[in-house]
Structures are given as C-alpha cells and as structure tokens.
Symmetry: C2
Subunit: 226 residues, 2 copies
C-alpha cells in the first residue's frame, strides 16, 4: 500500500483496532485516533465492548480506585497483579483482533503489550501471547487453512526508555499519545498513576524531553519516588 | 447453592452467559433464557457484541446465505469450514466467559461445543479448547493465582444422538431449545440448515420423538437426504 504521509515504512497495510470498553480513561481513544492518522492506517475501528458489566478493575469500576504515587521501581517483582488489571482484557482484545484479521485476510496481529518494566499484568507476558497465538491458530479458519496467524508484540521485551527512544527515532511526537489511567476530560495526564510514572521514568532514562501534557497543577516528578 | 426447582443437580451454582452478536437467529436468545430458567441459574447475562461489524459469516452477514439441504452425512470429513463459521466466535465468547469467571471467582467455564457429528468448525475442537484453556490460565489473574481455570466442554465428544438421550434423561424438554440458523421471528425452525438436519438426525438415531417446533409448512424429513 502506498502512503503519502511521512509515517515510518513498516511494510504492512495497517488496520487499527481500538476498544471503548468502559475504561475511565476513554479519552485515550482520541489519542488512538491521532496515532492512527499519523500512521496512515487503511482503517481505524473502535469497537464498543462493555467490560463495566463485569467490573473487577480500577479501570472499569468506579468502586475501585486507581492507585497513585506507588513506588514504580519496586513494582513487578512482587508477583502481585495490580488493581488496574482488567479481567481477561487482552484476551478479549486479541480475540476481536483475530476475528477481524481473519475477515481481512491479514496474518499478522500486532499488540503493544509490554512485560519488561512492569510484569504485574499476566496478559502482557510473552508466554500468554504465545499460548494465545496457538489457540487462535487452532480455533480459526485462518489458522487451520494456509499461513498461520502470528501475534506480534514488538514492544514486549523493551524497557520504557527503549520504547521512548524507538518511537522518537521513528518520528513519533509523543505529545499526541496518552498513557495515563486517570486523565482529565481533555486528556491531561495525572502524573501519579503507575502508567504516568513508568512513562515519565522512560523519558528520564532515555534522556529525552517529555512532551506529555499534564492536568493543570500536575507534574510527574512531584509524586515519583526519588 | 440450594435449588428449589427440578433441574438436575450439577453441583455448581450456575452463571449463564449469552451473546447478542448480530446473529440472524437472535431469537435463540429467548430459548437461552428459557433454558437458563429451567436450570435455575443464579444469573443469566446477555452481552451485546457486534460481530456484524466484521462480517465474514452467513450467520452475521446478510450478503452470505445460510446453506440449506446439504448432505449432513457427508459433512465434516472434507475439512472444509462451512459458511456458517463465524470468525473467532468461540474465542471471543470464551474470552468474555473467562473475564466474568475471574470476577465471580468461578473456576469452571462450560461451553456446549460439539466436534463429533460435525468437525467443520475449528473452534469446536478439543485441541482448540485445550489451547484456549492454557492461554486463559497464562493471561488472567485467576489463572496465575491459585486454582487454574478449566474450560469444560461436556458435549464435545458426544454424537447428537447421545446429546439428545443425555438431555432427555436429565429431564430437559427440547421444545424449549433452538438449534436452527434461520428460524422465523417466533423461533420456528427451518428444517433445512445444517443445524436443523443434524438435530433431526440426532432425534432419529436416538429413537426419541422430536419436539422441535418448525416454521409453518416446514419439516426436517423433506430436506434431509435419505
């Protein structure tokens, strides 16, 4: 597929899939739309799935608070799954992605899961992604006929600093992206949730300026443990 | 959990999950509600997921016809996935079921998949279900902490005749159930789709009277090859 804009040449016609799943940070979908536009995707689809009906996560239930100001340096090694884990979320996301890939005739399904800086989410680990790929190939027409489907997670083993460097090298302006679990209505980041802290740490360790737009009065340094 | 009605004692408090997925036979959801009531489930949830957005199946696309009058005796052995296959449908269903199970603290997820009489659906095969179980255990908090999740498919290796006998022995009135892919608005079965034919064959081989309600003027014998 020919592209006329300046997105990096990745070698694939891209079909982007986002989910309005009842997340409190649904403003991230506007960021997804900006990134999809920058990438010059063929199509960007946002699917409505109501995971609030099930609950069980700080991201989909108002009854569970988003943890703030945790020590991100100490996280991940304790084997504790955080309150922001959404039950089977990536399993559901990947199932939809595989369904669409099958209809499109696509064979490569990319997911931005990352396991290295933060191993608390079971569904961001390579072993889950590999097992899901096997299931997807056994459970679909696409997988049982012709070329197998591949679940690709190019960021899975990178540190946040490496991700920041990689994106910057590819020309991405991180100001159009959003990581925060608890942003304001305009997408201003809280600076204190795990996701904000890990992102800020990534820019810090990469030695690159952080273009993240924070909520009025917020900045990441204040809550990040030294 | 104590039950006061006459449902079979299965040993589990039951939570039933159905999907309004854009299927042309959405009237099956009324049948699911009848069966759930008969079973005395704690809760029956119907989740809306729009698989019509993806298409690619006779069950979710008006542009693809439901095959009628095929030779069901010859099906399954040819390795051809039928037009009624819905891309990654059971993968999506199971992903939701695992999410809900995780929130409920349930460890057993039951699915009525059946592979024996009709092996054309890749996502009804034991090898898929086993692979999905592995992925679900690697990708969820429930699976990585404590007792593993189990994907149970008690019907998967039974013939339709065995299923009919088993249900009858358990006191199920099959008149409240629906198998047809192309029923009328009242749930009258077409008698000619693969699902109707396989169901009729099951009753025939079981030697039991078939209580299925057919659409006016339809009956299964007419279209079933001798």
């Amino acid at each position: 597929m020919q592209q006329t804009n300046s997105r990096p040449a990745v070698g694939y016609p891209l079909y982007a899939l986002s989910f309005r799943y009842g997340q409190r940070h649904a403003v991230e979908l506007a960021a997804a739309e900006r990134v999809a536009r920058w990438l010059g995707v063929v199509q960007h689809r946002t699917v409505d799935i109501d995971l609030r009906a099930f609950g069980g996560s700080a991201l989909t239930s108002d009854a569970i608070a988003v943890p703030k100001g945790r020590d991100v340096e100490a996280m991940g090694g304790d084997g504790i799954v955080p309150a922001t884990y959404v039950p089977a979320r990536n399993t559901i996301f990947l199932a939809y992605a595989v369904a669409w890939a099958e209809v499109l005739g696509a064979r490569d399904v990319f997911i931005g899961a990352n396991a290295l800086d933060y191993s608390g989410y079971p569904d961001c680990r390579p072993e889950f992604l590999q097992a899901f790929e096997l299931a997807a190939n056994l459970g679909t027409r696409a997988g049982t006929e012709g070329t197998p489907l591949r679940i690709r997670a190019p960021l899975v083993e990178l540190s946040k600093a490496e991700i920041v460097r990689r994106g910057t090298a590819l020309g991405l302006d991180y100001a159009i992206t959003l990581s925060c679990y608890d942003p304001d209505a305009e997408g201003g980041a809280c600076g204190a949730c795990d996701s904000c802290q890990l992102r800020a740490k990534g820019f810090r360790e990469a030695g690159l300026p952080d273009p993240t737009r924070y909520r009025p009065g917020r900045r990441p340094g204040a809550e990040v443990p030294a």
